[in-house]
């Protein structure tokens, strides 16, 4: 049996504002193993984004347990969570979230800077170049993000997510800001990465893309609707 990368057990998340309590997630169980490509789909407001924040340690669950590569991460301090994010998790966002002031190379190199031990310049250079090659963007290393198309930016974001060699890639609606052709290219890159062993967990509401994953989960009103075939009930 392959190694378990991510394991969530009865995770709940409740948001409270003044008088109102919203149950964003209710008793969610997820297991993701090495090399899997998981998609999470569901209508807007179903809790997809909340789930992704919890998976990515951007937010803390209200209850339940969560471990990454066997290490319990349910109750971490802010700084510990940052360190784990840096080491184990690569993020790809809908809006790319590259830093406009930095070159493509520096954007990709950014996660390495937050490592406990700053790697040598040679290591950084080699690693960044490898990752840029994986997303076929080596020729744009010296450009600024705003000189690139959306599809290209998203590929840079993927390279950045990969650079620290994370346990899992968390991908949030990667084609949301792209036209269909660029969207297809980005999805092809992700598929290729998965084929080469990268574990991916992606949130999307685009049925075509959700289909590309080997495990498809559907979320409705904060709960995983298991065994339900995707997007049939139209």
């Amino acid at each position: 049996m392959t190694e378990i990368k991510i394991e969530m057990k009865s995770i709940s998340k409740i948001f409270e504002t003044d008088d109102v309590e919203t149950h964003a997630l209710k008793d969610v169980d997820i297991v993701i193993r090495a090399g899997e490509y998981v998609s999470i789909a569901g209508p807007s407001g179903c809790g997809k984004s909340t789930l992704l924040s919890l998976l990515g340690l951007l937010d803390m669950s209200s209850s339940g347990s969560y471990s990454i590569e066997g290490v319990d991460v349910s109750a971490l301090s802010l700084d510990d969570a940052a360190a784990i994010r840096n080491e184990k998790i690569g993020f790809v966002f809908q809006s790319f979230n590259l830093i406009d002031e930095l070159s493509v190379f520096d954007n990709v190199a950014l996660p390495l800077q937050y490592k406990k031990e700053l790697p040598t310049d040679e290591f950084i250079k080699e690693r960044v170049e490898t990752c840029l090659k994986m997303v076929e963007m080596s020729h744009r290393a010296d450009h600024k993000p705003n000189q690139l198309s959306g599809g290209q930016q998203q590929r840079i974001a993927i390279a950045r997510a990969l650079v620290a060699d994370p346990a899992i890639l968390l991908v949030d609606e990667p084609t949301g800001n792209l036209d269909s052709q660029s969207g297809d290219t980005v999805m092809a890159v992700l598929a290729e990465l998965n084929k080469n062993g990268t574990t991916i967990c992606m949130v999307t509401h685009d049925a075509r893309y959700a289909d590309m994953a080997n495990i498809q989960l559907r979320l409705l009103d904060g709960q995983i609707v298991k065994d339900e075939p995707l997007m049939v009930a139209v």
Partner: protein, 817 residues
Amino acid sequence: MRKLILRHNQAWASLKKKPGFILTVLLTMGITLGALLCVVTLNYLLLVEPLPYPEQDRLFVAEHKLIGPEKETKAIAFTYPGLVHLYKSKEAFEKASIMAYSQDVIVSHPSQPLVNTAYVTPELHQILASPMAMGRMFEASEAMDTNNPVAMLSYNTWKKEFSGSADILEQKINLSGISYRIIGVLAENFVEAELDGIGRETQVWMPWDYNQTGERGRQSFGNISGTLNFLGQLKEGVSQSQAQQLLSPLVSDRWQEGVIEMDFFKGWSVVMLVTPVKEVMLGDSESIAVMLLAGVMGLVLIACANISNLFMARTAEKQRQMAIQAAIGATKKHLFQAMLAETGLLMFMSIILALVLAQIGFFVMQEHFEQILPRVNELSFNPITFGSAVLVTVVFALFFAKLSTWMVDYRSLNTTLQSSGKGSGLQVSKKVRQVLIASQVALATVLVFANFSLLKDAVKTINAPIGFTTTNISTLVLNFASTDFPTQEERLPIMAEIKEKLEALPQVESISQSPSPLDGWGVRALTDVVSKERYTPFLNGVSHTYFGMIKQPLVQGDNFTLVDRQDRNNVMIVNQSFAKQLKADGDVIGMKISVGGPDPFKIIGIVKDIAIPNATPTGSDNADAGVPRVYTPNGLGSQRFMVKVKPGMSVSREQLGKLLSDVDSRYSVYSFDAADDILTKSLFVEITTAVTTAVLASLVFLLAGIGLYGILSYGTQLRRFELGARMAIGATRKHLVSMIISDNTKAVLIGFVGSVVLFALAYIGLSEYIQPFLNWQVLPMIVATIVLIMLVTLFACYWPLRQYINKPAIFSLRGSD
């Protein structure tokens, strides 16, 4: 180390995108910190740094205080024989020296310059341990009554007037007909104990014996002179008050003996004041220095509040970027370090600019404040300056970085990344922003109002009508460079010829053989012959053409005539203020006034008052009171002239020097100055104040504007989506602008109230300074201040808003990009 460099490179790369931000921070902090360093150094110099003399804490100045019959202080000045008596007694002081300050012309010098002179006993430079650039200082060979004609030069005089000539010690100089051998040049770093006024540098030092007091003055206990000084080193173990107690009877007894014959001094007495030399040298400049420090601190506070706002606004802008970094794994510490790299860089650049500006400030102060502040010549960078610079840099860098990261709610940063925007990780509440606005308004109002008040007073003095004309008029004072003084009779033809030749000059319109209204005044003791009442008005001897030339109107009676001057008639013209003093109804024509001699003077005319800047009646500080003045006809032998040149023409000092020596080689130019220049010089303090306060007020406005803009701009940024929603509903620009304004009105009003509270506190603490300012005249100032502050606020409300309301509404509704 590599991490540090990397961080700074990134900080710089990020900052480079915001040249406006860098420039604002750099200028704001650079200017205010420059001023701070300058003033801190000055304060240290004036308040802490000891004088550069050995045993400087034992150096004291003794002063002679004359007290009138009503126990009022009449004068603080020595009589010549009294000073010599004190010097010779050697009581209380281990070493003592006496000095007489004056001015004279070096007639042997080709350009015949007028120089500041001091006649001193040798102990002075021994006490001060004056460093010499060359030669020796005065010694026993120059002690009192040795009559040894030698002189020392100041370093600047040697360099400037003698072009630093190496054989200076072999040269002789001639002043007032006496030839002095130069025996020494003081070193460049010699610091003179300036007792005769701040910024007066003695250029030529001569032995005491040659001081210019006449033979009669040297004997008279009734002749008081402000140019006589005493400086000494107290005996070990003798305190200031002990010295005062020892010296007072000694001096008083001798003085009483000396004036026993003189009725005028009946009921007067004398006490000795002994004051540390530092206190005399500093005068009231300590309070100026402290006021400056307080003002600059206020500026720094405003600047600091401003920059805080700017950093908050910047953090608001960088929020998304920080969120990305946090998602990638940056810890709170990483974010703080990145911020610190930025603030550190900015503060470092600012402090460099500040040091440059402080250096310029030192230079400016040395050039222009020499007359206002003591010891400015010693201003230079010292460990205190650098220490405060480093401290300020570190503290501010840490503070701004801490502030910026404090604003960011690290926990909710990720919301910025996910939802298309409504979430905000910023913590600064509306309340904090309102407090910032209010404090900004309060500080700015107080500072602007204070500056306005000072400015108004200065401008009022500058623009006050003086009551006479100075246009194209210069005053010429002759110098007699010989020891064989001519008699009055001998002088008459010489002066007549000089006057004739002056009038013949093609540039000259007219000549009046008179001193100028701007100098030559003496205080005279006058007695009303009938009532025996005593008065002390200012007195000047003037020619019959005097009032005509300066256009000072005669309001009653007659002017002097040439005959009055030829016959030395005992007639007198008084001004309106003195006429009022003599008689309530001011009708004084024909009154008889005694000036001490056997024959009293008869008042023949009344002239209008003149207002010489900063002149106050004797024994009064009230600048608004009329100054009583008395005029008598001067003799035809007077050596002072007013020269009125034709418009657009001028006469040179050299030309006049030539003219004089052609008539009589013993005469040269003592001084030749345009009346306008003298007037400007006498207004120096006011002009300096006006410029300084105007600059400060503008600076405060600028800073307040930047500050309010900062707060409101990021306040507006935070409300972006709300603004978008309102626009979608159909709010027009007018709706939104008036909404932002009314939202901030409360804070601005609180700010105004705050400024009133600050004023009230200041009033309680400093009522003696503030009281004179409190009258209805401040009302327009208050209104002007409030209007200006409101304009700045309105601008700050509108400007950040413009980027949202002048674009299609979708711009505000969509996310941050």
